[in-house]
Amino acid sequence: MSAQKRSSKKKGTSDGNRYEEDFLKNLYATMYRIRQFEEQVFELYKLGLMPGLAHSYIGEEAVATGACAALQDRDYIVSTHRGHGHLIARGADTKKMMAEVLGKKDGYCKGKAGSMHIVALDKGILGANGIVGGGIPIATGAAYMAKYKDTKQVTVSFLGESATNEGTFHESLNMASAWDLPVVYVVENNRYGISVALDRVTKMQDIAVRAQAYGIGGVTIDGNDVLKVYETVKEAVASAREGQGPALIECKTYRFKGHHVGDPATQYRTREEEAFWKERCPLVCFRDYLIEKAGSDEKGIVALENAINDEIQEAIVFAKNSPYPDAVEAFEDIYFEGR
């Protein structure tokens, strides 16, 4: 029950397991897709084409990718304000995502959601959430449903380390543990909540310690190691699916950019810290691993990358070409009227 800590490795990758190359390449493709999507969102923001703001997932791709790879199609995820990565890892359509981020009619939510609130029910994505901690009880409720109906579905609730200071975190984990609900809480510990470093507002720096308060399993892992995330989440998901209750998995990671696209992140963290983490870029590390350890050839990877670049460019074209919704649509979808 006590927090296990994984000794940090320079090139944050596991190699104790053997996987099919396709599987590994898919993981890489997902991470690369997230990265590319986010880079392009940033470009669109700088060009003034994106309304509002977005929270970049760059640097944290291994968490969403590893976690979602451990799920079955019928499982659920609940996401956060920093949700693009979770959605893409869960298989959301980048075209519809990009259109949503631009506030267009063909977006997942017809332009009503924007970056922070995307739902993709067909992919089991119950929603990103603009309220820090707001999704945690909702994820727990989905797990209650699964337990009540014995559907064997598991829900993964993503949350930031700072969200663990909201009351909803505590209330949810208490219920999930008391009733052995099939939910896995994946904490993305990137050390900051906007500008506030965890150690300024919380005594214990390993969030996994908090699992002890609920008598559930809690581990701290290298969140930049996609295989480690995959393996850890997979085990927790299997255990939850079998009725053994929830778990808390803390993934140590880092956001390369500021809190949102408009934040230069200059005041509250050091360039050294940034450099330390960029060394541990989950994409670069895993790419190296693919080539050096898993026997993939670089040409194949480049081809994959190019294909994804094209896909994201298509998504941008799709989003740009999509019309804005009509003003009258503001009045639709408030209430469900049909049956």
Partner: protein
């Protein structure tokens, strides 16, 4: 409703009956809340349900208002029809994020992908010396949030029909039960029936003044109207039933006939639901008004504990009678 039935049950029993019937009808209906199970609720409004449906369908929860409303949201968007009890409506303050930012908005934010068939029941109102944190009528808060529906049943018969409608509704409904009513008996028809949302109920006809009231104030208004009736002043009393949707047509029709409107709602007067009831039909009835619209509500002070202080600040039949009489004079 069938007038021949004379069966009498309490308001609390009507709650249990409505939930029982809906649970029997649809296995997606579950009840969760603090103390709803083993003891059948703090107000004994869910007695017997746990014995009948078991611990997983009638779940005693920890004291975590925000958590349990969120649990309800999660269940609702994944296909269930949870009924969440918040023991005293004052405690919705602890769950307002899940109510207003989550339940009310998820459907909209999703562009219509999900629906949220969630019923949140809570006990409102003063009159039991429960003091400042257990006596409020906060329906104006939730009525102000698009995406929610808000119901305020006046009698047991009304409650049963409206609660069944709430549970069957595919949208989040905040359902405010009045705590002084729970132990009172009312005639309630046998068998299944529902009462649609958004249709106000003209509970007494009259020509000299329209009283629009909510919840328990409907009963107090009727008392006042009876007394006025004996004096030859015939007052129309409308039970609004739901604030959202708001049945403006029935009110407008009545005020056009009577030319005078008194609004009686137990929320604090200022920035309360009564203000909307008046302003909401203002444009439609302005030229028909013979007298300014007036309101009665709980005075703008926290609800004091001592009955010597509490009763004077909440509208009662006497105050309604006096205000109505003053307004109805020609």
């Amino acid at each position: 409703m069938n007038q021949e039935q004379v069966r009498e049950i309490t308001y609390a029993q009507a709650v249990a009956e409505a939930i029982d019937e809906e649970m029997a009808r649809d296995e997606n209906v579950v009840l969760i809340g603090e103390d709803v199970g083993i003891i059948g609720g703090n107000f004994k409004a869910t007695v017997g349900l746990r014995d009948k449906y078991g611990d997983w369908r009638v779940k005693d929860t920890p004291i975590s208002e925000s958590g349990i409303i969120g649990l309800g949201v999660g269940m609702a968007i994944t296909g269930m029809r949870p009924v969440v009890e918040i023991m005293f409506s004052d405690f919705i303050a602890l769950g307002m994020d899940q109510i207003a930012n989550q339940a009310a908005k998820i459907r909209y934010m999703s562009g219509g992908q999900v629906k949220v068939p969630l019923t949140i029941r809570a006990a409102m109102g003063g009159g039991r010396s429960s003091a400042a944190q257990h006596s409020q009528s906060l329906h104006a808060w939730v009525a102000h949030v698009p995406g929610l529906k808000v119901a305020l049943p006046s009698t047991a018969a009304e409650l049963k029909g409206l609660l069944k409608t709430a549970i069957r509704d595919d949208n989040p409904v905040v359902f405010m039960e009045h705590k002084v009513e729970y132990n009172k008996k009312f005639p309630v028809p046998e068998g299944e029936y529902t009462i649609p949302f958004g249709k106000a109920n003209v509970v007494r006809e009259g020509d000299r003044l329209t009283i629009v009231a909510t919840s328990n104030m409907v009963l107090k208004s009727l008392e006042a109207a009876d007394k006025l009736g004996k004096e030859g002043i015939h007052v129309e009393v409308i039970d609004l039933r739901t604030l959202v949707p708001l049945d403006k047509q029935t009110m407008i029709g009545s005020v056009k006939k009577t030319g005078r409107l008194l609004i009686v709602d137990e929320g604090h007067l200022s920035f309360g639901a009564g203000a909307e009831i008046g302003m909401g039909i203002m444009e439609d009835v302005f030229y028909d008004l013979d007298f300014p619209m007036m309101r009665l509500g709980t005075e703008d002070c926290p609800i004091p504990f001592s009955p010597a202080l509490e009763f004077p600040i909440i509208p009662d039949a006497k105050k309604i009678y006096e205000k109505a009489k003053m307004m109805a004079k020609r």
